[in-house]
């Protein structure tokens, strides 16, 4: 069993090693580049936007939950709007 695994892995091991090295090199270069930038991303306290307020989210899946209830039109002549949530005196 181990011999068959070795037979499969051995030919591709150098390729996998080189591929991993390239990806690691690129990632390290990215970290170094970010560290050298004045406007780099903060890795420790990056503030991920909430799903409802992210600038790139044009229509979040739970838009109904995110969007506030539409305001009811208030009659300007009425003395006090009738809010269902108003606290009773």
């Amino acid at each position: 069993m181990s011999a068959s695994i070795s037979t499969i892995v051995r030919p591709v091991a150098p390729l996998l090693l080189r591929t991993s090295a390239l990806l690691a090199l690129g990632a390290i270069a990215g970290y170094v580049s970010n560290a050298l930038r004045a406007d780099g991303v903060s890795l420790t306290d990056f503030d991920a936007p909430a799903s409802c307020s992210g600038p790139a989210v044009t229509a979040p899946p739970d838009a109904e939950e995110c969007d506030p209830e539409p305001l009811e039109s208030v009659d300007p002549g009425a003395s006090e709007p009738d809010h269902a949530w108003s606290v009773a005196p």
Partner: protein, 155 residues
Amino acid sequence: MSRVRAAFPWLLRLGLAGLFAYAAVGKLRDPSAFAREIANYQLLPDLASHVAVALPGAELVAAIAILLPDARIRRAGALALAVLLVVLLVAVTSVVVRGVNVDCGCFGAGSGEVTWLTVLRNVGLLAAASYLVVRDESSGSVGVSRGADGGVPAP
């Protein structure tokens, strides 16, 4: 005809390298915006900043690697691109399937929304990168053994 066949992998390499270099530079221009776009995917948001920092560098290095004269490095670069494309493919497919309407961020800010077309594009790019991995394997040292100019076919 044989010249066209010999030139085809290099055209693919040039196309993929140009595309990924362009994508990496677009992301590197504004890493904070890219990190926000990754977070909007709603996949591991805690890792968004790390992905935003590491991904463009990996893309750029892999794009350069597939143009190098050494066939072993080129093949590793093609496999690296394929690995990155699989990750990106999973991300964009999950976004489309879940119905999350986010900006792609594929080429930096303002890359357009993620749609099934984005998924299809990534499948095509993955096929191209996979072809380059297999091609260099089946033909041994394509490019190195073809001439002293590093294997670039003569026009």
